[in-house]
Amino acid sequence: MGDRSALLKDKHKKTAAIVILIVITVVLGFVCLFVGSSNMSLSECIYALFGNGSSAQIRIIRNIRIPRVLAAIIAGAGLSAAGLIMQTNLNNPMASPSTLGVSNAAVFGANLSIIAFAGGFLSTGNNLKNYTTGFNPYAASLMAFIFSTLSIILILGLCRLKSFRPGVVVLAGIAVGSLWTAATTILQFYATDVGLSAAVIWTFGDLGRATYKTDIIMALVIVAGIIFFMVMSWRFNALLSGEPAAKSLGVNVNRLRFVSMLLASLITAVCVSYLGMIGFVGIICPHVVKKLLGQDHRFTIPASVFAGSILLLLADTVSRSIGNGSALPVGAITSLLGAPFFLIIILFRKGDKA
């Protein structure tokens, strides 16, 4: 029974990895509060955090930076967990939170709102203030969410009729996604130049759009999703053995796939609707975690959650630091930061735990 201690050691190692990720998330979250374009010093930031300092400084910390940091933590966690679950569900390493075409639908919804109805959206760091602030700031997000939800219902409904076999779902996702993209292209063709640039800027991920209100809505959906995923950890583990084996272990595979893909897609829908496209978090983070910790969902789900938060926090901080006053699109930075790291992991840890 000498192997019991080895097993225990392995569990402890994985738990420790998760604890480390949590600590990094918290520390990084605080560090990110102190980085920004307003040239506040560290001490000013700390004072402002506790309500001392000029009202402008307090406002910057409390109303701009805290919601932004929270958005990075929440959306990073959600997108990463959603990506992991899609990969397991579809038995496909290329699967991502937007495999079902959710992001394309959200982009269409937002474009429709901005181009056709001159709907507003919250934005930072662009020259379209007159465009983006004059109308209901949540119009684009609302339309994005409505269309992405419609798309989820459409695609999961179609798959429910036929089957939830991974091949079918992935191909249906590609088809539906390309429909939305086509519609977006046509819409943009008829747009005015200002409308077009506003629409394109909306598409760039921007954590600066976050407010406490949007953070709370995102958190509700994402926390519910993550709790469900965690509870179903063993069932996802069984799914790794293939559908027939999972079924013969008593797992209702169709129901598990339906509910978890619905939740993963809803998570993606709220994130994209409020923050725009933030790519790659949902692919990179789960893969890095799986490379390092194996595939046991009891560990990979929490680890992916915090890895996602960390990547998005880092990316947002970098985008604010090098953007010279206006933040660079965070979606681009997640890839710029994540892709090289990802390549190193997949190329140089070969033969290690898969």
Partner: protein, 252 residues
């Protein structure tokens, strides 16, 4: 009787031909039943029906008198375990892979009891030393053993092995079949399996079911096996010789 199949018919879609045509047989607890037939004779489809992966087109499958179409997937998992032909697991430890077999009992979170059960199965299968290893790093034979261990952890009354020896060398093939036979015998678990090698089948089987084009042509003990039967089922000419009291099938 434990497993009882009555007039089982199956087709994959409405206009498709019958893949299983009025198949009826039964298998007692602790017996090893071997399904034999050419490729495409309906062996795998038969197993899919028994495992509940597909719904029978007609007829019934019952276990201890209980109609399996009326029990939940989880309850069925308590009766019947599956050892797939191509074993895949995902990167889990051997221990966790075998612990997975307890899922029909624990549902969401494993308990102490499930872990103890897992240790005892690992011990029986001689896998204790590999418990903390990543199951994906094991050899084909070891992985097959892990899959069988997972099935035993499920404490089923029947185990379905779909061509269990397909990916193994001769030494592993015999080792694994004998292990499975021994443990199943000790626990009174029935085994339903399919094997390509007739001599392997003769070595471990108690009852034989010969399928051809979805029909059950013959079933019974070793005594039914003859040159003529094999010619009828496989269209192959063989001789059967007696070697130290054992039947051996050889190609002509």
């Amino acid at each position: 009787m434990s497993l009882d199949i009555k007039d089982l018919s199956f087709r994959y879609s409405k206009r498709a031909p019958l893949v299983l045509d009025n198949v009826s047989f039964s298998l007692n607890k602790g017996e090893i039943g071997v399904v034999l037939g050419k490729n495409g004779s309906g062996k795998t489809t038969l197993f899919k029906n028994v495992l509940g992966l597909v719904k029978p087109t007609g007829g019934s499958i019952s276990f201890d008198g209980k109609d399996l179409s009326k029990v939940s997937r989880r309850e069925r998992a308590g009766y019947i375990a599956y050892v797939p032909q191509n074993v895949e697991f995902g990167a889990l430890s051997v221990f966790d892979t075998v612990l997975m077999g307890r899922m029909p009992y624990f549902g969401l979170r494993s308990g102490k009891e499930d872990e103890e059960k897992t240790y005892s199965v690992l011990n029986e299968m001689g896998l204790t030393d590999l418990a903390s290893r990543n199951v994906e790093e094991l050899s084909g034979g070891e992985r097959q053993k892990a899959a069988i261990a997972r099935a035993f952890a499920q404490e089923p009354e029947l185990m379905v092995f779909d061509e269990p020896t397909g990916n193994l060398d001769i030494a592993n093939e015999q080792l694994i079949l004998n292990e499975a036979k021994r443990i199943a015998g000790e626990k009174g678990i029935g085994i339903l399996t399919s094997l390509h090698d007739l001599n392997q089948a003769l070595a471990i089987g108690d009852r034989f079911f010969f399928l051809k084009n979805g029909k059950l042509l013959h079933s019974g003990g070793k005594d039914i096996i003859s040159k003529e039967l094999i010619k009828e089922v496989f269209d192959a000419d063989v001789s059967i010789i007696d070697h130290e009291g054992k039947m051996i099938v050889v190609n002509c």
